[in-house]
């Protein structure tokens, strides 16, 4: 199978999964006991108000027809209108997604920067103190409720030490950078806005660490395991026998081979960051998709909930596709196959 065929098959697979996702989210939204009309208008709404509301959101039509209307809109980029914000859901997602994307990217960066070296370190010192410490760190990371971690970090770094802000993306007294990508750090860099850059980086530290800790633990464990496997391979012995520096042997020969299984986990992890974002954004009042999703689900704002779940569900298969493409870059055997 050549590369193009592989890519087309994967893309068709993603479209099929998204179709299934749309059916499930639509079913959940429309066949459950909750009444979005009562949630939006209250119990005392007049009959004509209820009828007008139902007509406005198409709720007066049969469910199957509603689904086809929704899918027709979806194909044209229309995700319906939010009951809560009264704006097109696509506009809401466009406004809230960059904040979550920025937070998830930085959290992944934190996870890579801490998880990979600690995993390698742990493998090199197997069954010695550094290994035990890293494994404990990973065990805690995999078992910790992240909303609790966020709460403790706010208590320490904001309330006690006063070093870092407790929430938000930027200080109230600093105007946000001019929107280019929606990512504050990147936009601040692009517009050379040092005050906004400093403030947005400051605001990212606690939420990114909170969100990234679980992924750090997973990556560290996987990196350790892969390195242990690689360290005993013949090619490592050969590289050492050639007289190469140990650092070179580890980084050039060991790391590159150990990265392949770790990359799979990174793909899985990126999907999971979105779940974590719901809790992290709640704790740090981060104005992203997670908070939007929570508020929408509480308010039975089904068009918004559907929009968020569809968007969230596409991230996971796309992240896995990118990982598969990454294999080709890492492993010449896959690239040439």
């Amino acid at each position: 199978m050549n590369f193009l065929t592989f890519l087309i098959r994967r893309l068709i697979g993603i479209v099929a999964v998204m179709l299934g996702v749309s059916v499930i989210t639509f079913t959940i939204s429309h066949l459950v006991p909750a009444d979005p009309v009562a949630a939006a208008l209250g119990d005392r709404a007049r009959e004509d108000q209820v009828a007008a509301f139902r007509a406005e959101y198409g709720l007066d039509k049969p469910v199957v027809e509603q689904y086809f209307i929704y899918m027709n809109g979806l194909l044209h980029g229309d995700l319906g209108k939010s009951i809560r914000t009264r704006r097109p859901v696509a506009d809401d997602l466009r406004d809230f997604f960059p904040a979550t994307f920025e937070l998830s990217l930085v959290a992944l960066l934190v996870a890579l920067v801490i998880g990979m070296p600690t995993g390698i370190w742990s493998a090199l010192f197997r069954n010695r103190l550094p290994d035990h410490l890293v494994r404990l760190f990973a065990l805690v990371g995999g078992s910790l409720p992240i909303f609790w971690l966020g709460l403790l970090l706010i208590g320490l770094f904001y309330s006690q030490l006063g070093w870092l802000p407790p929430g938000g993306r930027i200080d109230d007294f600093i105007p946000p950078p001019q929107t280019i990508t929606g990512l504050f750090v990147l936009d601040s860099l692009l517009t050379a806005n040092s005050a906004a850059l400093r403030s947005s980086l400051h605001h990212l530290i606690l939420p990114a660490f909170t969100l990234g800790y679980f992924s750090t633990a997973v990556i560290s464990r996987m990196m350790r395991s892969s390195m242990l496997e690689v360290l005993n391979q013949d090619y490592m012995r050969t590289a050492r026998a050639k007289g190469l520096l140990e650092r070179f042997v580890i980084l050039r020969h060991g790391l590159r081979n150990a990265l392949i299984p770790t990359l799979t986990i990174i793909g899985l992890t990126f999907g999971s960051l979105l779940s974590g974002a719901v809790l992290t954004e709640t704790i740090f009042t981060w104005p992203g998709l997670g908070r939007y999703a929570t508020a929408s689900a509480i308010g039975l704002d089904f068009p918004a909930v559907m929009g968020v779940t569809l968007l969230a569900a596409i991230v996971y298969p796309v992240a896995n596709l990118i990982v598969d493409l990454g294999y080709a870059w890492l492993d010449p055997r896959i690239r040439n196959a």
Binding site: G13, A16, V17, M18, G20, V21, I24, T25, I28, S29, V32, P33, A34, R126, N127, L139, G142, S143, L144, P145, F147, W148, L151, L152, I154, G155, S159, Q160, F214, V218, M222, R224, S225, L228, E229, I265, L268, T269, G271, S272, L274, S275, G276, V278, L279, T282, A293, T294, A297, I298, L300, F302, V305, V308, T309, A312, A313, V315, Y316, P317
Partner: protein
Amino acid sequence: MAEQAQTQAALALPARMDAPRPRARPALLRSPLTIAGLALMAVFVACALTASVLAPYDPIKQFLSQRLKPPSPEHWMGTDQLGRDLFSRMLFGAQISLTIGVGVVAPVAVFGTILGLVAGYAGGLLDEILMRVTDVFLAFPPLILAMAIAGALGPSLTNAMIAIAVVSWPVYVRLVRGQVLSLRQREFVEAARAIGASTPRILSQHLLPNLLAPLLVQATFDLGGTILIAAGLSFIGFGAQIPTPEWGVMISDGRKYVTTQPWLPLFPGLAILVTVAAFNLIGDGLRDALDPRLRGNL
């Protein structure tokens, strides 16, 4: 949380049908970390089962004159903003968490196993359909789907458990189907077929016993993951509701007091951490014991 389940699934066991299973127990008990995990789990289960006997106070009853008391001999973990004894609430919290863990994982594991057995053994169109449905469910970030379901059903502990169950079963289908695919061509299955064993008999008497090891590992990890996701749902308002002494609700209740009365969010958070870590340690130990090739590598 549930993302953990997917990660653990990625690290799942290969088929080990003719492994000498009796070795598993001594190997399991050789690891000090696993023993620590088992001990912590024993404490957790004991607290859960004896909460009504051990708890010195009613976990719900308010004593406003005793509000926000720090830990003391009368109130080992202090009291909350309504004067309720935190230690008593923690004990009942263990009971609720155990109910959530077992109440979700047991039916989900049974359901997922049946579907996985059927998909893997039948193959063909049925397998294809079941796998595509599984793919769709696996595409959702678990907490977001669980939140959408719990929101739609209405916030309550039972609905949160239903929501978590809905997002948890696909991992078992994938796991079991993968094992069945590798086992169904083995000689012992062919021999059973040759002597005229019925399909239900082959599935239940020959295939299922060989799947128990990886299933047990996955279920152990999921017990912890389920407690974690349930606490998360309760924290954001989609799970247990006040005044239920559920650990996630207690952290949410205590968040205002993180600097002034830190014991309020501290103890329930620590309880979740220790309980989930115990299940993770046992899961690691079981996996190592049942597959010596992985021992010490993860």
